[in-house]
């Protein structure tokens, strides 16, 4: 039971991290469909840097850095050149899938050491919960605390309010003097960093070797997760756990010999994504106040 819960938690970390980043960038009005590509970039950079430097912590740094760098491509086109965000995001994913395949080619078949588990003294002694929540790796702690930070940042801090204003009405935000484009660049970079770390988590903790396209749609699920969470950080956590649980369900099903073909169990995460998106749409059909009004719209700065 304990192990099962830990596995679910760990499986949900990549989509949680990527979802957190995407949430911030969407709140500023930028819909980045390149999450899958940024995660792959993070994954291959993490894996490569660990292979070269031998230290799993280097993987976190280089995964995050690579995520930021590749998000700059997206920002340059969508924010500076005002290209269509959907098409550019798709382009980013296609580009990154190719690029990571090329970079990752020499890494195939090599295994890297995992991120060490860190016990938090005192808390890890708590029966049951201690082993689940306080004997994990550092990225796990980062991911969980990020959710709390992002929540308070968006709601309580001045910067959070400015950020939301930019996402809700970029014309007004601009006319009262906020640098719309600069804020969006920063938010997209944050999204890239989180997606990079989320991608890095996959080789650093879950499967310690490279395979082409190893994120297997997790970036897309992270995108769906943001919609499912109605742009609320804590719901993101809940959603990520549900998806973690469903992903694990297929392995449990296979191990216990459930009478379904494995392909149907493997379909579950994708099927549940569609169902979850539909359910949340029924619930918010009257209009969702948390949707950033300028989401996906280019901002034309009239000089």
């Amino acid at each position: 039971m304990e192990n099962l819960l830990i596995t679910i938690l760990l499986t949900s970390i990549p989509i949680l991290l990527a979802g957190t980043g995407e949430l911030i960038s969407e709140k500023s009005g930028i819909l980045n469909l390149g999450v899958e590509g940024m995660m792959l970039t993070g994954a291959v950079s993490a894996l490569g840097s660990v292979l070269i430097l031998g230290n799993p912590y280097a993987g976190i740094f280089f995964g995050a850095l690579a995520g930021i760098l590749i998000s700059f491509i997206f920002s340059f086109f969508t924010i500076s050149l005002m290209t269509n965000q959907v098409a550019t995001g798709l382009g980013l994913t296609i580009f990154a899938t190719g690029l990571t395949g090329l970079i990752g080619e020499p890494f195939v078949g090599k295994t890297i050491p995992s991120l060490p588990k860190i016990e938090i003294i005192f808390f890890s002694e708590i029966p049951f919960l201690g082993a689940i929540f306080f004997k994990q790796d550092i990225l796990f702690y980062i991911a969980i605390s990020m959710i709390v930070l992002v929540h308070f940042f968006l709601i309580k801090s001045r910067f959070g309010i400015v950020l939301r204003a930019v996402g809700d009405n970029h014309e007004s935000a601009h006319s009262i003097g906020y640098p719309v484009k600069k804020i969006r660049w920063i938010c997209t970079a944050f999204g890239g960093m989180c997606a990079g770390m989320g991608g890095a988590y996959i080789p650093l903790v879950l499967t310690p070797h490279w395979s082409e396209g190893m994120t297997a749609g997790k970036g897309w699920i992270a995108l769906a997760l943001v919609v499912f969470a109605s742009w609320l950080p804590f719901r993101l956590l809940l959603g990520a756990l549900i998806f973690g649980g469903i992903t694990i369900l297929q392995f449990v099903g296979q191990a216990r010999g459930w009478p379904f073909p494995s392909q149907f169990l493997n379909m579950l995460p994708y099927l549940v994504t569609i169902i979850a998106l539909s359910l949340i749409s029924i619930k918010t059909r009257a209009g969702n106040i948390y949707v950033p009004s300028c989401l996906g719209k280019s901002f034309f700065e009239n000089n």
Binding site: F77, I94, G101, E105, L277, I282
Partner: protein, 358 residues
């Protein structure tokens, strides 16, 4: 500091110039990437972009490779013109193929080529059904079609995998996940040129392009629904004001592009594989998105675009064999190409001038 000023008059030449410039820039970027990764630059570029033209049978194979890309691309034009983002053509391709293939396998001894007509119909229907799922969810519940159509790709892939390993597996396949071979009637034959023989894998399915492209062009440019699609995509408010049915347009473009992907699948599998297998598509549905953009959402443009992209795909296969460059490199080219094309649209719509920051 760059200043953007909206253009009052559209620059018509740019429609043709911008794809050309984009392709050239992409090749330059490609050269840099090869250089950084220590591959011989000229030799790599030669393999990727020129070697497919080096022999008549290779040129024929370009068209074989381009065929599914062009057909899917023509379907996607309708979606993208309506500003509906169908990125799940890959899944619609697979599901259409699966439906048509299962249908063909119901008549194991059929030798009549008429069955192909029915297979086109079933394949179109299958693809259209798969494409209409995101349409219905969007219409009824306002669910984002991008995510749903993409999720359906993964579902279709797993579904065909199940079918060819389970119900439709050929008992004589020695444990390989393959269906029984299609009946003779369901095979699209290769073109035999008198005096020359076969040219590569060139097959009669190619001819469908010359029917579908003019048909699509006519639909878009000479009919009311085509006009509605364009207005809906470029000026939703005007479309609403004119009383165009938003739901109907959404449904039609998604079902139509799904159906076209299904037809592409039928041709591809009936001509080149002759049976169902777990992998019937090799990312054609995703590549076709780039093809549609490179063709500037014009059916005839898409034919040229399909040929260019197919050349790079075949060239990448050669480059992998000869120089050991992983063929995923085409993904990089496709991504970069899309970036340049999109930037080209900005240049089409805005005049860009440079001013020192004051």
């Amino acid at each position: 500091m760059f200043i953007f000023t909206p253009r009052q008059i559209e620059n018509n030449n740019w429609v043709i110039i911008s794809p050309l410039i984009s392709v050239i820039f992409t090749i330059i970027i490609g050269a840099f990437i090869f250089k950084i990764l220590n591959y011989p630059v000229l030799e790599s570029l030669y393999q990727v972009f020129v070697s497919p033209f080096s022999r008549p049978d290779r040129i024929a194979d370009i068209f074989v490779k381009a065929c599914p890309l062009i057909i899917i691309g023509i379907g996607l034009i309708f979606c993208f013109r309506a500003n509906i983002w169908n990125i799940g053509a890959e899944g619609q391709f697979i599901f259409g193929t699966l439906c048509a293939g299962s249908f063909a396998l119901l008549f194991p001894d059929n030798e009549n080529k008429f069955i192909l007509v029915l297979m086109f119909f079933v394949g179109f229907l299958g693809g259209a059904i798969w494409g209409s799922i995101p349409a219905i969810l969007k219409i009824k519940l306002n669910v984002n079609e991008i995510l749903v159509s993409l999720m359906l790709v993964y579902i279709a892939m797993l579904f065909i995998d199940y079918i060819v390993r389970g119900p439709l597996r050929d008992p004589m396949s020695f444990g390989f996940p393959l269906s029984k071979p299609y009946p003779d009637g369901a095979i699209i034959s290769k073109i035999h040129f008198p005096g020359i023989g076969f040219l590569g894998q060139l097959h009669y399915g190619i001819l469908s392009i010359f029917v579908l492209a003019p048909l699509a062009w006519f639909l878009i440019n000479r009919t009311l629904p085509g006009f509605q699609i364009k207005v809906f995509g470029s000026a939703p408010k005007a479309s609403n004001f004119a009383g165009f049915n938003k739901n109907k347009i959404t449904f039609v473009v998604l079902a139509l592009s799904g159906g076209m992907a299904g037809i592409a699948g039928v041709i591809e599998v009936s001509a080149n594989m002759g049976k169902l297998q777990p992998e019937v598509s090799f990312g054609y549905g995703f590549t076709a998105i780039i093809v549609a953009f490179l063709g500037r959402l014009n059916p005839y443009g898409v034919i040229f675009a399909g040929v260019i992209i197919a050349t790079a795909k075949l060239g990448a296969d050669n480059a992998q064999m000869i120089l050991g460059i992983p063929k995923v490199v085409t993904g990089i080219f496709e991504g970069v190409l899309l970036f340049f094309l999109l930037a080209g649209e900005t240049i089409q719509n805005y005049k860009i001038s440079f001013k020192r920051k004051t």
